[in-house]
Amino acid sequence: MSNVKCTHCQLEFDESVMITEEENPDVYFCCNGCQGVYHLLKEDGLESFYEKVGNNTIAPPLEIESDSHSFDLESFKQRYIKTTEEGFSSVDLVIEGIHCAACIWLNEKVLANTEGIVDATINFTNNKAKIIWDEETIPLSKVIDTIRSIGYNAYPYDRSAEDIKATKNKKDYFMRMAIAIFASMNIMMIDIAKYAGFFQGMKEETLHLVHIAEFIFATPVLFYSGWIFFRGAYYGLKNHIVNMDLLVSAGATLTYIYSLFVLFGGRGHSYFDSVAMIITFVLVGKYLEVIGKKNAVDTMDKIRSGVPHEATIVEDGVKRVVALDAIEVGDILEVKRGEKASVDGVLIGSSATFDESSLSGESLPVEKKEGDTIYSGTINSGKVIRYTATKNYANSTLSNIVNLLEDALSSKPEIEDTTNELSKYFSITILLLSLGTFGAWYWWGGDFEQALIVAISVIVIACPCALALATPIASLIGISWAAEKGLLFKEAKFIETFSKADTVVLDKTGTITEGKLEIKKISGDASQEQLRLLYAMSDGSNHPVSLAIKRYLEQKYPDITPIELRHIEQVEGQGIEAYYGDIRVLGGNSRLMKSRGISLDFESEYTLYHFAIDDQLLLSFELDDRLKEGIVELIAYLDSINVEVVMATGDHERVAQRVAQEIALKHYKSALSPIEKANYIKRLKEQGKKVVMVGDGINDALALSYADVAIAMGSGADVALAVSDVVILNNSLQAIQDSFIISRRTFTFIKQNLALSLIYNVITIPIAMAGYVIPLVAALSMSLSSLMVVGNSMRIKIKDNK
């Protein structure tokens, strides 16, 4: 059998498992969801979606178990819905399931075609949507159902004041930066003519014309783009602080005044190009910072949108939906299948199964019995349950994690930026030297004009170009080298932080291990026919154990096909019971077998799965998580460069110890909750360590946000990816070793570049102070210093190419 692509999601599957249609022989679907969406789009005349998707794959439609009526509740309206000036309703949503531009197109299109929707815009960069609709024509729940019908999901988020501010700020900086780049590029072109004129000769009047053109372009850069530096300098001075903004604005303004003096006085050489370059370079750096802040706000909104917005309280047998803040200790709450628990509490009545992967990272559902603690944020994966609240929302686990994440993201710890520190002292020194030069020339020469020109030329020749380029050029080459290796550094500054790291904390599931169960041992025997029954049973469940059994059978018997079973019943937290004719088939853990009267004498440190037909045990599987390829080599490498490695896991001691032994790891921490994991990182940092944390689950998000550098595996949870600083796209552990090599080498070159530009200044500044700066020297030295830095940075990758 060959693999074919699903007509809707484009994912490839074996032809035998695909859904086909008699009337359309060319279409294949991997699931009913894809089939449904395909026909819906066809009916609405939106087939061009598939042309737009191109070769991209999309996720099959999401299966949503909770209904959308909660979007029409009064508590929801009060919190999330706003009224526009025209009297329409407006809501901000985060759309889940968006993969490519075609997904955005489809959502916007379907919403635009829906009666009653005035406007629907979705931002591709952060997946946030704003929907304006007429409440009298269509309720919000129908709008949400429309989004769900095409395979996506939407969560509301409270658009915070910080989001509005961050968006406005980003736009403002973008505009200022765009104008600065535009003007600088034009000035650079004019500069070619100007500097060519120095060598080949240029008439005084022509040079004057060139200066006028540069003046026209440099003026908006200084006063419009550079305005933020003046503002920053003003607030700095008001608070008695000499900041970078003051030095940038003072340097640029003095250079501008000097150049104006040359332009209208007609003597010497103007430096409008330097004015534009200084402002542009520093502004680009600032813009990247602003984007970083906006991303942090977007991440927080994504996290907050995952928090349930109300809960069902049961009072005297009557159910009532209330806002989370209204829940009091002692209230009885009901949680349906697929819903999240909103506050911490204890289970009452029956047993339950909860997906606690958001806390422990483990994919296996956890079984709960009466009196067990239910943690907020975990998902009920079994039947409807009731529990008593033991904490209110503000003190519950989920709220604690969200608040801690918020604090960590808004004050992300940073290692002091070497270049910034250096340029601060550098700039102060230059300003003082320039002031001294002015005083000396005026004192001994007596000519005010001459003294001013020499003093300003000291500032100009010190040309921060090389210094400004030293870090960005090297970082850029380092980052692009990392990208080739499947590593995405979100910001350049993490190269420096990474190079100084001395401790690596690794999460277990998904980082050290695959996070996928694998069969370690099989006991017993079964015939081909019996194996087909086992295959049929594991085919019908998404439980990680069933998936592992299915994978194993498909690998071992490629031609295996399932037999149709009837009365398939999922026994909560135990397994599956089904019938084939009158034969009873059982598949599950030891408790299922015992409860059905099958005696077992089997113990193992691994996860167990038994298979029995008609009360006779046939097979017992022992399953375990497989180690990731390259983990042992990675730990050996980190040991060799004296970096301490620690494994931090939510799993219990026995499992952690076994894994640590297998990979020859000396230090590990087990049974850590997300908050304990984060506190552990905090303690390491308090001991003065520079910590790199590698993780992939929602449970790692908090610890990741506390680390100096957070690395997430590309296949990890959205939240983990969002809070990380470095993303490993190809999921390989080799990439962590590469990050160390790349960041350490790049940082060495940054230091070399800084040294080069300082040496250059040590030579040229005395010449300028002595009054010997002629335009030719200035022109040559300016270009040379920048070329030196760029040329040196190019050597970073040489080692890799050899």
Binding site: G87, V118, T167, M175, F182
Partner: protein
């Protein structure tokens, strides 16, 4: 010689500032707010999409007129 240079520079400056003006106008209108969407803009520039945009505008106009009538009645 210089008058030609002056003319060239003048035209160059006027043209480039006009282009900058257009860019600022587009950026103020929100065209560059979403960097990813902006890059994929070309994909969604067919005649069909243009027609749909016009239809959408008409629909919004009708909805707004209806809402205004309702507001006036109140």
């Amino acid at each position: 010689m210089n008058s030609i240079l002056m003319l060239e520079l003048g035209v160059g400056i006027v043209v480039s500032f006009t282009l900058l003006g257009i860019f600022i106008w587009a950026a103020r209108g929100g065209q560059f707010d979403d960097s990813k969407k902006m890059m994929d803009g070309l994909l969604f520039d067919s005649e069909e999409d243009l027609r749909a945009a016009v239809e959408k505008e008409k629909k919004v106009k009708a909805l707004k007129a209806k809402k205004e009538q309702e507001n006036n009645k109140k």
